[in-house]
């Protein structure tokens, strides 16, 4: 059933347990890079243009004008409403993710300027439990909508998520309508939203806020699908197209406005902020 896809991405993209594959090997052309090389290249392969996942703080540093980012709600943390236990308790997974990523949750929010234009930011981090959306992601995103509305600044979101966070059960599903309602309030207040879809944006995040920007930009090669390729394959036994669910396919099928290489994102977003900032 399709619902299973919401979290499968997290596991698919995690490094194999035995660590065979070096995390900085380009999956597209097999070039090898040190962290610092990739970091200075915005985590884009200089050989083939493959976009590696980019961590939230690096993303923010890249997108925003130096020193303008003021983080909000950094101290909001998940609870474990279901006492969820699979191989380990959910609370243990959370603590581990925080230790591993240095982030309290899979989203970082706050105010900044981009190319001199004020905006509110909501940037996801796939490294935190596969960017899955639980109560905290929903809450922080919603507060970012409110803050954008209050400040009269557009909201810029960057999504990277395997979908809803299974460990919070039905409450994770409720983050879909929660973020949708927050955007509805933002729109009613005359606000606007630019949504950037990074690899991967799937499941519940694609099926909620990431799809509701006034403008949708995708990074090259980003998977944007509701159901993951594996689930589609297993459910339908169809042969999948080569570019199934990728940004380029989504552009062709009318679901995003542009595929924008990472180095061009700050200028593109700045231009859009300018356009949305001067309505009557």
């Amino acid at each position: 059933m399709s619902s299973r896809i919401d979290v499968s991405i997290e596991h698919k993209h995690a490094p194999a347990p035995d660590g065979k594959r070096h995390p900085n090997t380009c999956p597209s052309c097999s070039s090898h890079y040190r962290d610092d090389e990739l970091d200075s290249a915005l985590w884009v392969c200089s050989q083939c243009g493959h976009h590696f996942p980019m961590r939230a703080r690096a993303r923010i540093a890249h997108l925003t004008d130096d020193g303008t980012f003021a983080e909000a709600d950094a101290d909001v943390r998940s609870e474990d409403p279901l006492d969820f236990f699979d191989l380990r308790p959910y609370s243990e997974r959370l603590a581990e993710a925080e230790l591993a990523t240095g982030l309290g949750e899979a989203i970082v929010t706050g105010a900044a300027t981009i190319g001199g234009h004020a905006c509110e930011l909501a940037v996801m981090d796939f490294a935190f439990m596969g960017g899955s959306m639980g109560s905290v992601v929903g809450e922080k995103f919603s507060r970012a909508c409110d803050s954008a509305a209050e400040r009269g600044a557009p909201l810029v979101s960057v999504s990277a998520s395997g979908g809803a966070r299974m460990q919070e059960g039905i409450l994770a599903l409720m983050q879909l309508p929660k973020t949708v309602c927050a955007i509805a309030d933002l729109h009613d207040a005359g606000g606007s939203m630019i949504s950037v879809l990074a690899h991967p944006t799937t499941g519940g995040v694609l099926a909620s806020f990431a799809s509701l920007g006034d403008v949708l930009l995708a990074e090259p090669g980003a998977l944007m699908s509701f159901a993951g390729p594996r689930v589609v394959q297993q459910t339908t036994r169809e042969r999948l197209p080569e570019d199934f669910g990728l940004a380029e396919s989504n552009l062709r099928h009318g679901h995003v406005d542009a595929v924008v290489p990472r180095p061009e994102l700050p200028d593109t977003i700045a231009k859009l902020l300018g356009l949305f900032g001067n309505a009557r």
Binding site: S2, P177, C181, F226
Partner: protein
């Protein structure tokens, strides 16, 4: 029963009463059913009870959307097509009357026999289905018809064409459409409330759930496949993420539980429909006369309050 569990029970009962638990049941003359339900909810549902809900929610004799439509709505007229590409039979929409009042209805429809199941894709809609639903929601809004939504789907269809046609975006926009409506909206999960495919139709002023329905972010099999790489661990998964009605009520995700006949909705469609009809009527009555702006404000505030964090 140990003291701590009793305390928890009492707390929950208080909470449930505040939340208009069993709002669907007419308290006069329904005390017996109420008692039975209270008994059921009194104890933390066991893993077995949760699994029984999963089985009943998917029972092949369980009433489907059209079984209720034909019992509850007068002058039913089905509205078909997304006005763009297709008419998705997995999701039915239409107009009808409840107590003389015109309502618009949307809901997934599974099939009873193999032929109908194929035609209706087992209740798994394509984006075309959700776009049809949005069209009918907007029609309801334009004409002031309350919207009733019956949720019963394993999930939105996961296929190549469905993805190409924008399944994720369609689910997002369907929710956004519901968030904008200025008419009363009542949703009820009548079987499987499967993930995004379910919430697309459930951003409502009142969200009800039948006693043996399930509502979940993932299917038990899907969850098990991920956690234990073994879909047969579905029962264990269900116990972990608790998709049953009492837990959904406890978490504030639904507003009330709709009673079913003692052995389950599948044994007595007429009685199940009567009970559902009472709940729908009560919910519609409560919402009648509230201005559109206020409905929207409360609806959004309700969903924006969902979540547990510190």
């Amino acid at each position: 029963m140990p003291g701590e569990a009793e305390l928890r029970l009492r707390e929950r009962l208080t909470k449930l009463r505040q939340m208009r638990l069993l709002g669907g049941a007419n308290l006069q003359g329904e005390l017996e059913r109420l008692q039975r339900q209270l008994d059921r909810i009194a104890a933390e549902p066991t893993d077995e009870e949760i699994w029984r809900s999963v089985e009943l929610a998917r029972h092949q004799d369980r009433p489907y959307t059209l079984d209720y439509v034909h019992r509850l709505l007068d002058d039913w007229f089905e509205l078909r097509g997304d006005r763009a590409r297709a008419d998705d039979a997995a999701l039915v929409t239409g107009l009808g009357r409840i107590d003389g009042r015109t309502v618009a209805l949307v809901g997934q429809q599974k099939g009873r026999d193999i032929k109908e199941r194929t035609k209706r894709n087992f209740g798994m809609a394509y984006p075309e289905g959700y776009r049809k639903a949005m069209r009918v929601m907007e029609l309801a809004d334009r004409h002031g018809f309350p919207l009733v939504s019956l949720v019963d789907t394993p999930g939105a269809y996961p296929g190549v064409a469905a993805e190409q046609h924008g399944q994720g975006g369609a689910i997002a926009h369907s929710q956004a459409t519901m968030a904008r409506l200025g008419v009363p909206t009542v949703a009820c999960v009548i079987g499987e409330g499967g993930s995004g495919g379910a919430i697309a139709l459930a951003v409502a002023d009142r969200v009800l759930m039948q006693e043996n329905a399930i509502y979940s972010v993932i299917s038990p099999e899907g969850c098990a496949a991920i956690l234990w790489r073994d879909a047969s661990q579905a029962r264990r998964a269900a116990a972990a993420f608790k998709p049953d009605a009492p837990h959904c009520l406890e978490l504030g995700v639904i507003d009330a539980i709709v009673p079913e006949p003692p052995a389950g909705a599948h044994v007595d469609h007429d009685e199940a429909a009567r009970l559902l009809g009472e709940s729908l009527r009560e919910a519609l009555d409560e919402l009648e006369g509230i201005p559109g702006d206020e409905l929207r404000r409360r609806r959004r505030a309700k969903f924006r309050a969902l979540g547990v964090f510190v």
